[in-house]
């Protein structure tokens, strides 16, 4: 009986020992699990942020490329007005404005960029109306230096927006 009682006490002690250390192992395991989950989450978040940064850079590079294309068109429009071939300039002008209207709707643009593009569209529309009206009436385009000056101002404005875009993507 005594032997049996000693054995039971031994088993009981061992069980307490295991219960005690089991409890701490569980706590430590839980802390480690939490730490690993947090680490995984922060790594996933860092990867997500990095992917988003790259996506925005690619998108802004694309927008900048579109703007460069429009600037080329407007440069040619300017040159055509200098060469006094307004009918050719008008065609290219319409094409450049259409591209600009599409570009201005891109959700990646910042508010001030959208406002600047909108201003350019409004001015290009006014220039287009003046040129088309003169052509329909068979008249000279008022003061040609004014048209050229205004076209240059729109080209300068778009160049500024493009520079901002490229700086932001860098």
């Amino acid at each position: 009986m005594q032997t049996g009682g000693g054995f039971a006490a031994y088993v009981n002690g061992a069980a307490n020992w295991f219960t005690f250390w089991g409890f701490w192992v569980t706590i430590v395991g839980f802390v480690v699990t939490i730490w690993q989950v947090m680490k995984t989450k922060s790594t996933a978040e860092a990867v997500r942020v990095a992917v988003e940064d790259v996506r925005q850079d690619v998108s802004r590079e694309y927008l900048s490329g579109q703007l460069r294309d429009i600037l080329d068109d407007l440069g040619e429009v300017h040159a055509m007005h200098v060469a006094k071939v307004p009918h050719l300039a008008a065609k290219r002008h319409v094409a450049a404005k259409s591209k600009l209207i599409r570009l201005a709707q891109d959700p990646e643009l910042l508010a001030f960029e959208k406002a600047d593009l909108q201003a350019t569209i409004a001015h290009l529309t006014a220039i287009q109306r003046r040129v088309e009206s003169a052509m329909l009436e068979g008249e000279e385009i008022g003061d040609p230096t004014r048209v050229l000056g205004n076209l240059s101002r729109q080209i300068d404005r778009l160049t500024g927006i493009q520079a901002t875009m490229r700086n932001r993507s860098k």
Binding site: I101, A104, Q118, I121, H123, L124, A126, R146, Q154
Partner: protein, 117 residues
């Protein structure tokens, strides 16, 4: 008064208020000396003045869409009247005055002249 008229009046009132603080980016129109534009994402607003032979000038306020086309406009002069907007002439002529000063940077010119004298 329709809700659109009410919003139009509210817009002009706000533009007047913000323009008097120099907060609206007015700029001269590309082809018209007596027209000024301010652009925001997706839309522009324009205020123009037309002199009439033998009559008071007409002020026209327009809203331009994302393609540069006018989608709404209101014209008023001293000898005309809008039932829904009794102060339209005062509001639009005031806005034209503020837009012109901002677009042509009259403030800067005055500062420089005062400094030079």
């Amino acid at each position: 008064m329709s809700s659109t008229d009410e919003k139009l009046m509210k817009l002009v009132a706000r533009l007047n208020e913000k323009s008097s603080n120099g907060e609206v980016p007015w700029e001269p129109d590309a082809v018209d000396d007596a027209k000024f534009l301010a652009s925001f994402p997706g839309y522009s607003v324009a205020i123009a003045k037309r002199d009439r032979r033998g009559g008071p000038p007409v002020h026209t306020f327009s809203i331009l869409d994302g393609s540069g086309n006018a989608i709404e406009s209101v014209s008023i002069s001293e000898d005309s009247y809008l039932d829904y907007w009794p102060d339209a002439n005062r509001d639009l002529s005031g806005l034209f005055h503020l837009a012109r000063r901002k677009a042509l940077d009259v403030e800067q010119a005055l500062d420089n002249l005062l400094k030079a004298l």
